[in-house]
Subunit: 234 residues, 2 copies
DNA sequence: CTGGCATTTCATCAGTTGATGAAAAAAGGC
DNA sequence: GCCTTTTTTCATCAACTGATGAAATGCCAG
């Protein structure tokens, strides 16, 4: 499913190392294999041996590079997290600079979500697996909650603060709740579960991120506005 | 965490059956224990022995009642699924009958979501665990996707059809996509991950379903209206 | 009070799991 | 061409996994 399998790996018959070039590639190959499997079956649903088989590598090599299984998972999670945060930060920078005094709720939300959609579309299967993984971690209580917070809280706070600039009268309570609704929708869309395909009898496809783009920003923006406007119980 | 642990279970020292009364209770106790553990750690993250320990029961008894581990999981999933569907169906019946010709998008959505919030608030920890479990299954690709569809598709189709009555010009595409956004928000809210607590620095609490109720219906309704109004690419 | 039946426990199995230490193989400096 | 370092493989471990068969226990019908 990923870039994996790495060809039958032409047994060099002996042990040892085949070539220096493959050295760094192997680390990435292992991460790719682990990423795809973790995304599909979750942390506990995957064995080191499965990862090793998919990567075409001995199990001991995985421990040699990454240590314990949990550390492998963290490495998978970490690898793309920073890229994601950077892309999002730049997107919001660009929006703020290009719309001085004319920012809208929908504009801010688009700047927040668009980079993820773009990356998922252009980044290949690896990124799709990664989003599915994050979605899974996102609503597995008591798991990765701390990791989640450490990496993604800053961007979220920035989103909320920017929205507060656009709608100064909005209560933080309302903004945080609205964000939670947003992130639920966004993560489900990004993880492309295929559920909407069967549900809509082929009318919609979860892989159609263009369709998501055409609706999600407007959906969330209108939701935010409605929550702010209603402003329940102070 | 659940109703579990069942007291130190006053070892009867011998084997055999202690009393008929406990007979049916034990099945429920086992399901409660399994439910809580599966919700927290996922299917593969839980061992039969853990379930047995939490229920205060021998592992063999679990197999005696439920068969294989996967069947235990299905039993957990099934136990509350029908109750859920019935409650939702009745809620939508009631709304349709009480608002002949005056239904609104928000009203329909409320009729669809409200029963779940109510049950979660009044039903105790068991229901909370169950919702976390469903949320987890909902975006674990290739797992329970078929189960998910079998039990929840009918209600969703009813929601979509009712919305089509309220907004006859809306395209099914838009309704299905909007539903997916809705279900992402709803499931994340119901699973009470605690993420919003730390994110908002104590300003919001994921256990505060009243706060969800006061915002989610309006949020989703406004989102639906916006998507329908924009009506992207036909 | 006795024999059948549903329930519960014990003991155990074969298979799998994550992990490690030591050996083997290549690269690279000299 | 030797010696060191890095990478890869092999062989193996103790712990745990899901699962089962058989025995033990108490309940109830007769």
């Amino acid at each position: 499913m990923t870039t994996q399998v790495r060809a039958p790996r032409t047994k060099p018959a002996g042990r040892g190392r085949p070539a220096k070039a493959t050295g760094r590639d192997l680390k990435e190959t292992i991460l790719d294999a682990a990423e795809g499997l973790f995304a599909r079956h979750g942390f506990h649903g995957v064995t080191i041996r499965q990862v090793a088989a998919e990567a075409g590598v001995d199990t001991a090599l995985i421990h040699y590079y990454f240590g314990a299984k949990r550390e492998l998972f963290d490495s998978v999670f970490l690898r793309r997290a920073e890229i994601l945060n950077t892309a999002r930060g730049l997107s919001m920078d660009a929006y703020e600079k290009s719309h001085p005094g004319t920012m809208t709720v929908e504009g801010v939300i688009e700047a927040f979500i668009e980079p993820l959609l773009r990356i998922s579309q252009d980044g290949g299967q690896g990124w799709k697996s990664y989003f599915a993984l994050v979605a899974q971690v996102n609503n597995t209580p008591a798991w990765g909650g701390e990791t989640m917070a450490r990496f993604f809280d800053p961007v979220v706070h920035r989103l909320v603060e920017t929205l507060k600039v656009v709608r100064p009268d909005a209560a933080y309570r309302d903004l945080y709740w609205s964000y939670q609704f947003l992130t639920g929708s966004m993560m489900l869309a990004l993880s492309e579960t295929g559920r909407i395909d069967s549900l809509s009898d082929g009318e919609c496809h979860s892989s159609d991120l263009g369709a998501v783009r055409a609706r999600l920003f407007a959906y969330c923006a209108a939701g935010f506005e409605a929550v702010i406007a209603r402003a329940p119980q102070g």
